[in-house]
Symmetry: C2
Subunit: 263 residues, 2 copies
């Protein structure tokens, strides 16, 4: 089975031009099949503000109303995605930017209205990912670059969390590839002491994870990310790496970076 | 050789939701390999205005300054392209939306500054189209949907006329397919009398075209479009059809619509 890396970057990489270029060069240098997934960034907020569209929050959570959906379609699907693609092409990666609607690659369901109406937010379901269509793109030599948009198959684009897209891709593509999921963020990885970058935990398996949770060593903000990661591993993903975007260059077939989660 | 239709639509289709849906259903019904190319529309102007970006014109021609490039990247590459893709998916077409940067499909050169600096406007050149990459997408079952953006291969997105993109695709893809180029606009085709929709000219060959030009029958505004069409035909394109977007449903293997230009 061929190996496949699915790498997710967030706003902290996208918002800083120098970080982004370094990251895209490191991404290009990474050997083998790969997929990039990117989130939004400050530019979405800037565009919203310049168009007079206010962020609509309920209980501290952002609501994707119709104006917000238009903006994220423009900013995620157009501005950020196409600029990343053009830069990757410059560095020699044959990138192809997509939403979940393109090639019917990822479907989602509009989140049901219970106490809160999240608007055009899309939740991934079991058969969301058309893994055979993604395999066709990879086999043809294209490197897919996903933004945080999906569709419902009935003409509606939906806003879907980029972390969730990355992990759904990693799980679904286990069918064809040995997949590793890489979350790049602004910390070196999972830290024993959140204020000490040298306290990096290099490897965690499910047993150690349970111990860390009991001893409350792992910071509460990391728990949802790590729970998702271990779920992906239980579903067949070989490993999940959580680390700093600036360290991607250290990822080789025989070496890793950040914190490595595996069975 | 397989047949391939390259169909271009402009703002008159995109600006009217009813027209667009009818067109996308007709496009879906069209058998065989196909590519859609779309221009902009009023929505680009609306977004510009709401962001306070003024259209920058010199001698009546629009200049793509950096703010305008950002807006067309958002509107053409994001808002319009992804909504068309989502709608096509709804109707059963496995659409995949692209700019020229995606998959390195179309490169262009930034227009040189002579008397006017057109900004980030990209001109197509002889080897602009990576036809083998487009063939890979078609062979894998995807229907490419191009917006009017290209790249220079060095990280710069460029604004390129959609008519020009459509004809460059038709010419380059002659290598692999028997290509027909279809321009959909708001008239029934080339008319003997611009004010009489019943004066449609059904077929024009180069000899008849020269006669029409001598007799000044063809309206001056049509001349550049027709010159380009006959250039494409001279380069190997089987036929160019110029007709109303609402008539695309009449296009079958044994019947055409609008005005058909051929050798």
């Amino acid at each position: 089975m061929k190996t496949l890396h699915i790498i997710k970057i967030g706003g902290n990489v996208i918002d800083n031009s120098e970080n982004l270029h370094r990251f895209l060069q490191d991404f290009t240098a990474l050997e083998g099949l790969k997929i990039l997934v990117h989130g939004g960034g400050k530019v979405a907020t800037q565009v919203s503000e310049s168009m007079g569209v206010e962020a609509h929050m309920i209980d501290g959570r952002r609501i994707t109303d119709i104006d917000t959906l238009r903006i994220v379609t423009m900013v995620y699907g157009g501005l950020i995605n196409k600029n990343i693609v053009a830069q990757l092409q410059r560095y020699g990666t044959n990138a192809l930017g997509v939403t979940g609607a393109d090639g019917d690659l990822i479907r989602a369901k509009k989140r049901p209205v219970k106490t809160i109406d999240y608007g055009f937010a899309g939740d991934i379901f079991e058969d969301s990912v058309r893994s055979s269509n993604i395999a066709k793109l990879l086999d043809a030599g294209f490197i897919p670059v996903f933004c945080a948009l999906t569709h419902n198959g009935e003409g509606q684009l939906l806003n879907t969390n980029a972390d969730t897209i990355a992990s759904a891709l990693a799980v679904a593509l286990c069918e064809f590839y040995e997949t590793t999921l890489v979350y790049c963020f602004e910390k070196k990885g999972v830290l024993m002491d959140i204020n000490d970058d040298d306290s990096l935990i290099r490897d965690i398996d499910p047993v150690r994870y349970e111990e860390f949770k009991k001893e409350q060593i792992i910071h509460s903000g990391m728990l949802p990310k790590m729970d998702n990661a271990f779920t992906a591993i239980a579903c067949g993903v070989k490993a999940v790496i959580i680390g700093h975007s600036a360290d991607l260059g250290k990822l080789k077939s025989d070496s890793s970076f950040g914190t490595r989660l595996s069975k």
